[in-house]
Symmetry: C2
Subunit: 537 residues, 2 copies
């Protein structure tokens, strides 16, 4: 027996249509190349997204065709977010921080037919162009400079408007978006988001206990729109009618803080390194920026350390820590203090926020080790596995990656975690970041986090280095704060109070910066390569 309910597919156009009907005058603010701000209301975003959809169909785009975007965060990118899927196409966000080789590989692997690119990114595109077969390339312009031969003006492309456009009837399982993993190891792999997954994820972000995104919010996704759809926020904001503020090309911490203060941002999201930069600016220029009361920071993409959380709180910014992956659309867990934990002392609440949080509604989590599914005791660790309606079931045309899914249908994240009795997930390491010393495991993440709590340390990464006796031993690569000083002995003493003796790094190297991936995460593969022949003293 089936329900008697409507067959109403969960498709993205419903979200922007709500903005058009209920929130037509709500602004989308975009910081431009020259520092000015474009203000374009949802009414116009809807009209232009529909015009883009119409133009793509006229250009010969068929259902399921991929359209690449190589852009910063701004209104035109938002138009692509909705316009490409509205036409039945697949929004394929390209990571502009990748090397040209990787961008070309990804475009070819995805089979992109069209591309929309920022004029300021044409130098990168120039390195890619000869290696890919794109039929039409549309340039979002920032200047009057002539376009390279064969490239088209995005504005001219959408100028004919939407007259006569008939939206295709889409199924909710149709592909809407595509994103490749950042690939700290191995080549990038593509995840294809269905309309359904993106709509359900949008509903999740609007829940009071997750991001709580609401109509009254002014939302600034600092996280790039090429990084798991800016964590889904560009889809949720029109649904709830929140104002959007986009930081545009290559924003500096001061640019971000100007936007937050002047636009009254109430919800901003980014990786820890971005927030670290903003804290440095806030510390360095006290009183310059007056942020909105109750402003919330969403931190994800990597685990924040305690010092960062304290610093943000000191500046009046509340923190919500989210966790997810490209394969989880991405929000799979986030921190909020449970009912019974509401009266926690500030330090305990902080400790809770450092964890990756509770699985969000509709996402299930478990940890599995050699003994099977592990208890939620906060001590037993194993691989974190998840499932749910916005979790990937496979990669796009990537045979041989099936081992990322268990026989019973869970996604094996490769992260090592514990879950405490309350259900809070705590990542302890990427499986490949664990240091195997004498048959025991050492958590490099825990050591890094503790090192970064030292007053003199800006950043630290701990890696496993081969060792003749213990198999592997930890080496700490440390970046000191400007003008600060600390010796290896001092750092060792700092750690000694928190960890077993055998956990302590056997060596410290002081370097200028930790190598990063294109999305700002520590790139430990580079460090491992650099120190692979380390001679233990």
């Amino acid at each position: 027996m089936l329900g008697t309910m409507m067959d109403y597919p969960l498709v993205l156009s419903v979200l922007l249509e709500r903005a058009r009907r209920l929130f037509p005058d709500v602004e989308v603010v975009s910081r431009r190349m020259d520092g000015t701000r474009l203000r374009r209301p949802y009414r116009a975003i809807h009209a232009r997204a529909t015009a883009l959809a119409a133009a793509l169909v006229r250009a010969g785009m068929r259902r399921g065709d991929r359209v690449g975007t190589l852009m910063w965060n701004h209104a035109e990118h938002l138009e692509g977010y909705f316009g490409i899927p509205a036409a039945g196409g697949v929004l394929h966000t390209l990571n502009l921080r990748l090397a040209a080789d990787d961008v070309a590989y990804i475009i070819n692997h995805a089979g992109d037919r069209f591309l929309i690119v920022d004029e300021c990114l044409l130098p990168l595109f120039a390195q890619v162009r000869a290696r890919v077969a794109l039929e039409r390339v549309l340039v979002v312009r920032h200047s009057d400079a002539p376009l390279p031969e064969g490239l088209e003006d995005y504005e001219a492309f959408i100028a004919p408007g939407a007259a006569g456009f008939v939206a295709p009837a889409l199924g909710e399982n149709d592909a809407a978006g595509m994103c490749y993993t950042s690939g700290t190891t191995g080549r990038p792999k593509g995840v294809v988001y269905s309309h359904r997954a993106l709509v359900l994820h949008s509903m999740c972000l609007a829940m009071a206990d997750t991001l709580g995104m609401r109509n009254a919010d002014t939302v600034m996704p600092i996280v790039p729109m090429f990084h798991v759809n800016a964590w889904g926020q560009p889809f949720t904001a029109p649904m709830v009618g929140a104002r959007l503020v986009f930081p545009g090309p290559a924003p500096k911490p001061e640019d971000l803080l100007d936007l937050m203060a002047e636009e009254g941002v109430t919800l901003a999201s980014g990786v820890p390194t971005v927030w670290m930069g903003m804290v440095q600016a806030l510390d360095g220029q006290p009183g310059r920026w007056k942020l909105a009361p109750g402003v919330r920071a969403v931190i994800g993409g990597a685990a924040p350390n305690e010092g960062l959380l304290r610093a943000l709180q000191g500046h009046g910014i509340a923190v919500r820590h989210g966790w997810g992956l490209t394969e989880t659309t991405p929000l799979a867990a986030c921190t909020h203090a449970k009912h019974g934990l509401g009266d926690l002392a500030p330090d305990s609440r902080l400790a809770l926020t450092l964890k990756q949080g509770l699985p969000v509604p509709l996402i299930e989590a478990r940890i599995v080790n050699d003994d099977g599914e592990a208890a939620w005791d906060g001590r037993t660790s194993g691989e974190l596995q998840v499932r749910g309606p916005w979790v990937a079931a496979g990669y796009y045309e990537e045979p041989g990656t099936g081992d990322k899914w268990t026989a019973d249908g869970w996604f094996a994240t490769g992260d090592i975690a514990t879950i405490d009795p309350e259900g809070y997930i705590q990542l302890t390491d990427r499986a490949k970041d664990l240091i195997k010393s004498g048959g025991e495991w050492i958590s490099s993440v825990a050591l890094e986090s503790a090192l970064m709590d030292h007053a003199a340390v800006r950043e630290a990464a701990v890696i496993a280095v081969p060792h003749p006796k213990w198999q592997e031993r930890p080496l700490a690569a440390v970046v000191l704060k400007d003008g600060a000083a600390a010796t290896a002995e001092q750092l060792g003493a700092h750690l000694a109070s928190r960890f077993a003796k055998w956990w302590l790094p056997d060596a410290y190297v002081f370097i200028d910066q930790i190598p990063r991936t294109s999305t700002g995460k520590f790139q430990k593969t580079v460090l491992r390569e650099r120190y692979r022949d380390w001679r233990w003293g």
Copy 2:
């Protein structure tokens, strides 16, 4: 091209499973017959719901079989909410305020095989029993009195537990629940809720701008669990881990206020008449009840009047007004002040809350009159039509009701409404409640609402009475407050400042109470019958 996401069906068991894993110790509090309170944590609710599912399958229940429930709001009813669908059955909530004839009709029409009934409702069941063919009847007991022959103890039925129970693999479009319309006219019609509709609706209730139900809430559904699933809240609360407080059998206003004060209720929901009773009690016994700071009242099922909202606010209770129908699961619209309206003066904000609100995410609304789709200008009225993933597409085995759906797939509510430029829906009347006077329409609802703002009036209903010249003219049936006095002339003068002269009722009758439907709504059909032969002076 399809997405590469998991095929993860949206089924109700996922919601209770989240409570079991993350919120096992959160209490479900139930007021018992004797006034004591049962406290049963989600861990036990889950175990007992699963035991119920196992017992139903052992008893021969097949996929899609209907299981009736004739119960007040309490923990055992919640077990039925999850246990029946978990076994692949259909939870069919029966309205205990209906006449025995109607209950029997509905049981037979739905084809219920099993029934779970409160011991205190056995007198009603005794009138039904001979007219229905139920295989097993399970009684939730409140005493040690012997059970009538052939009836079984619910506790004994579930006592064997869930050992060996294998949950069936359900599809999200499978039927999970069933509810019959209260039928102010015509015979009751059944709506069958799919798992998908109920899960999506649960996600909607957790959004910050709808009910904003969150883990920190203590939720008391005063609205009966037989009335559109207590507006879906028993499904949402376990998902977010909110405490639940159930008022149990036949609660009086004082009982409800005791529960609110002593259990720290933060979110309570009911129809206007229930809230009117609570306001009377609060007014009558100042200082007796200390409610939780920030407590929210959800009002739905009928439009509240201004005086009620002011009174609730005066007692520190914030109001959210929701609108929906049995056919919309039910939440389809609710009030919240939009971003740009945040600085409204208190009176304007109140006026906003009196409207039915904005369509919630994923629900679309339009108004249609003889000229087609009407503009959103706040003046042009027409029939309110809605569509969305939790809107019914038909009634259960009820041929001939297809005219409730338009050719292009919208549900025609039968409500007359306007939508203002901001998107706020305002119901002006049920189509059948409009008074057609001299070719023009008069809104009985507007007149009633204005009458109830008069200091001496407790309740008022305005009906159309046949008129030889004007076809129909309004007659007002008025219930005065205890000890208050008002004449027809005074009431007419009160209305004259707000309405055109030809809108004013031509007659006033003062009565002891307005007849009500089983769900507490004014039953104007009874009044129309009573005054059909009215002799105009």
